[in-house]
């Protein structure tokens, strides 16, 4: 591309993952950014897990029933709650990133983040209540 010196420092080589997730003394934006990546990776992982589990259906009723029983255990329900958190956070922060990333609401991004998070928290509480009561 252009003829510019690399910003890589050979004395202090930087691991890209550390660059993304090192939030020490960083502000809201980095936390949101790191959490978005974390939830994103989690959701991809979940998608594969989900497909694997659905494939149990192909192997007959017994296996599927055993899984449903496991899925009703409190520990599993807690994992459901974590999943829901991931979906809600990634989705709502995605709205913010999408908007801001196209140049809309840039100066209001902090307020936007917290507004969406309040909505997210309400959704999360409602979902968890449903998960544990139904």
């Amino acid at each position: 591309m252009q003829d510019v010196q690399s910003t890589q420092d050979t004395v202090r080589p930087k691991r890209p993952l550390l660059a993304w997730f090192d939030v020490r003394s960083r502000k809201l934006g980095s936390w949101a950014f790191a959490l978005n990546r974390l939830t994103g990776l989690g959701l991809v992982l979940y998608l594969f897990l989900h497909l694997v589990i659905l494939s149990l259906l192909l192997r007959g009723e017994a296996g599927w029933d055993a899984f449903i029983k496991l899925a009703r255990s409190p520990l599993f329900l807690l994992m459901d709650a974590v999943l829901i958190f991931g979906i809600i956070y990634h989705g709502l922060n995605g709205i913010r990133v999408g908007m801001v990333g196209l140049g809309y609401g840039v100066r209001a991004q902090r307020g936007l983040f917290w507004t969406l998070m309040v909505i997210g928290a309400a959704l999360l509480v409602a979902s968890i209540w449903l998960v544990f009561t139904i």
Binding site: V4, D9, V11, K14, K27, L102, G103
Partner: protein, 240 residues
Amino acid sequence: MTKEITFKVFRYKQGDPAPHYDRFTVPCDENTTVLIAMQDIRRDQDPTLMLRHSCHHASCGTCGMRINGKEELSCVVKVLDLGTPTVTVEPLENLPLISDLVVDMTGFYQRYTAARMPYIRQSEFNPGAEPPEGIDRYTRYENCIECGLCLSACPVAGSDAEYLGPAAMAAAWRAVEEPRNGDGKHALNWVDNEHGCWRCHIAFECSEVCPSNVDPAAGIMNLRRKLTGSSLLRLFGIKR
């Protein structure tokens, strides 16, 4: 009131196997800035300590450092305001280290100048004021002081060594926003690539650490809006 403060200072000399930290104790009063403390160390304890500094009032941009992990201009950070008994002082990141607290700004300036932003802009201060006889309009220097704090704080610069970086793209936006000697098309083309404005991941750290009201993140987002807008228009066959 004077207080003894310990500074844990990043040290590296060319040829050293690895960097290390040295500890120095410096008496600090309410006016002592981190920059003055570093100069005091150089004068009284270790004349080999290397640092950059020039204006001492947040206008030149040379004295940027990581103070307790945060990018700051050391000339305007008062030591006692930090409130920590030990103050860690490190060079900026995402720029090649030369020695101690000094980093190589070549790459920074290569990117920054490629935006071709004129350094003198129209002054927006005292908007009602009429310029005097012989002066067409009040002008002033651009906000950016080329300190590199934004580049150091940027998580994307840490993972893409070719990234154009916040300061350079903020300059590109200024060249588009107030074109002066051109139409800003060069700047728009220059940022429109995978190491340019589309690489930004919207962490806003650049704008958080900027000591000079540049708001680079907003500049990058404005460039995107402009580029998206013209792409959409092109999609519908409208040329501008």
